[in-house]
């Protein structure tokens, strides 16, 4: 079967899978961003309780495997009365996992802001919250953009794992088509190309554009 006939027959199924992967990517990114911000700031907190919880969170999610987390959230949480749909369990576990890595990026970026910036903000009597929001965060944001780009590619790759709890994403559809047709080169090859295009073309150029516009707003270009 030529590649065009193959696409004609299975194109819709592949496109549907790609859409689900996109949806997983966007929702998991939201979760990861929120978690990273809170846990990253929490690790810098002066309150030992908040700091302790943040450290435990980071070590727990970085120390165990993503696959274990996905299965735990999907199969074990229902035993405690929390039943999640595969889709929700999928983006939640990917987001929580990547969020732990993101928290370290947030912490690192905030800590790299020179001491003088903090002192100057205090000297003009900004409250700690305002200092963080108006002075520290905007600078930290531009520092951590590039590493976040890499992390988002990791996130996109991680979403393939949700196919194992039967979320019908691109990975799932490729596997399905392969078992129907026994044409692994086409089925998995097309999926590889789509993942590649998504991470190279979409994420990398989005981050480049963001970096550029942030640099412009901060008057560095």
């Amino acid at each position: 079967m030529a590649i065009w006939d193959f696409l004609q027959v299975y194109g819709v199924q592949i496109a549907r899978g790609t859409l689900v992967t996109c949806a997983q990517f966007l929702t998991a990114t939201m979760v990861a961003l929120v978690v990273a911000l809170f846990v990253g700031l929490g690790k810098l907190s002066t309150n030992p309780l908040i700091r302790g919880v943040s450290v435990i969170y980071i070590e727990l999610f970085r120390g165990t495997s993503l696959l274990v987390q996905v299965f735990w959230i999907f199969f074990v949480l229902p035993l405690f009365g929390i039943t999640l749909s595969p889709f929700t369990a999928g983006f939640l576990s990917v987001g929580l996992n990547i969020g732990a890595y993101g928290a370290e990026l947030v912490r690192g970026a905030i800590q790299s802001i020179p001491r003088g910036q903090w002192e100057a903000a205090t000297a003009i009597s900004l409250s700690p919250a305002r200092r963080m929001r108006r002075i520290i965060m905007p600078q930290a944001f531009s520092i951590m953009l590039a590493p976040w780009g890499n992390l988002l590619i990791e996130l996109l790759k991680s979403t393939a794992v949700v196919s194992l709890i039967s979320v019908k994403d691109l990975m799932f559809q490729a596997k399905q088509i392969n078992s129907l047709t026994y044409m692994p080169i086409q089925a998995f090859g097309i999926a590889l190309i789509i993942y590649y295009v998504m991470s190279r073309a979409m994420i990398t150029s989005l981050v480049r554009w963001l970096e550029h516009s942030v640099a412009q707003r901060q008057g560095r270009v």
Binding site: V68, V161, P184
Partner: protein
């Protein structure tokens, strides 16, 4: 649902047996990745421009597509070319290949981080290029490469559960089998999580220790 200790002790031996497989897969995959990474890094440095950009593109593809998909790809596509791989061979090769791409970047950037002056000094002292690499450049590059290499060893350990999809009997597959046999997922999955924590946290601190040790030995 509550935790059953009797069940826990009953399933622990088979999980520990599976842990051995997980560690074996990690070590075998990592050895492959260290060699593969070195080959990629050196081919990018010394090879022609064309070869360099082909390798570069290949590394990019490997790094920006899911490991899970690559495992399926290799396992199902290799037989199309008459190469029937066992799950173990296919799984470990994919792990090794995937992380070769990452390690070659680590090698490349740490070789680049050795100051130009070091190379020039070697030239001035009339050292052969073999001696330049082995006695001067690699020891210094190693000190910068080690943290990155250690991190990837730990991430590879955490990626081994993906081999369960093609039937490698590591921790996740064993836990899944126990779970579906007894209809109890709480203990096996939680134990797997704990075992991973017990493996990866000490591994991470060991890497840190080694890094400091090497820095002292090299006097950096």
């Amino acid at each position: 649902m509550e935790w059953k200790w009797g069940f826990t002790w009953e399933i622990l031996p088979s999980l520990l047996w599976a842990t051995k497989n997980t560690i074996l897969a990690t070590i075998a995959g990592y050895i492959l990745a260290m060699i593969g990474g070195l080959v990629f890094a050196l081919m990018q440095r010394t090879g022609s421009k064309l070869l360099g950009s082909i390798i570069r593109e290949f590394i990019d593809i490997v790094r920006s597509t899911p490991l899970l998909l690559q495992i399926f790809f290799l396992y199902y596509v290799a037989p199309e070319f008459g190469l029937r791989l066992s799950p173990w061979v296919a799984g470990i090769s994919t792990l090794g290949l995937h992380y070769s791409a990452y390690l070659s970047e680590v090698y490349r950037s740490s070789l680049d981080a050795v100051p130009r002056g070091q190379w020039e000094a070697c030239r001035a002292l009339n050292l052969s290029s073999r001696d330049t690499y082995i006695r001067i450049v690699i020891p210094q590059a190693l000190a910068t490469a080690l943290p990155g290499m250690g991190n990837y060893l730990v991430s590879m350990l955490k990626d081994t559960p993906m081999l369960s999809v093609i039937g490698v009997a590591e921790l996740m597959l064993t836990a899944n089998a126990i779970g579906s046999e007894h209809y109890r997922y709480l203990e096996p999955f939680t134990l797997v999580g704990i075992i991973f924590l017990l493996l990866s946290l000490p591994a991470a601190s060991l890497v840190k220790l080694l890094e400091n040790r090497l820095k002292t030995v090299l006097g950096l």
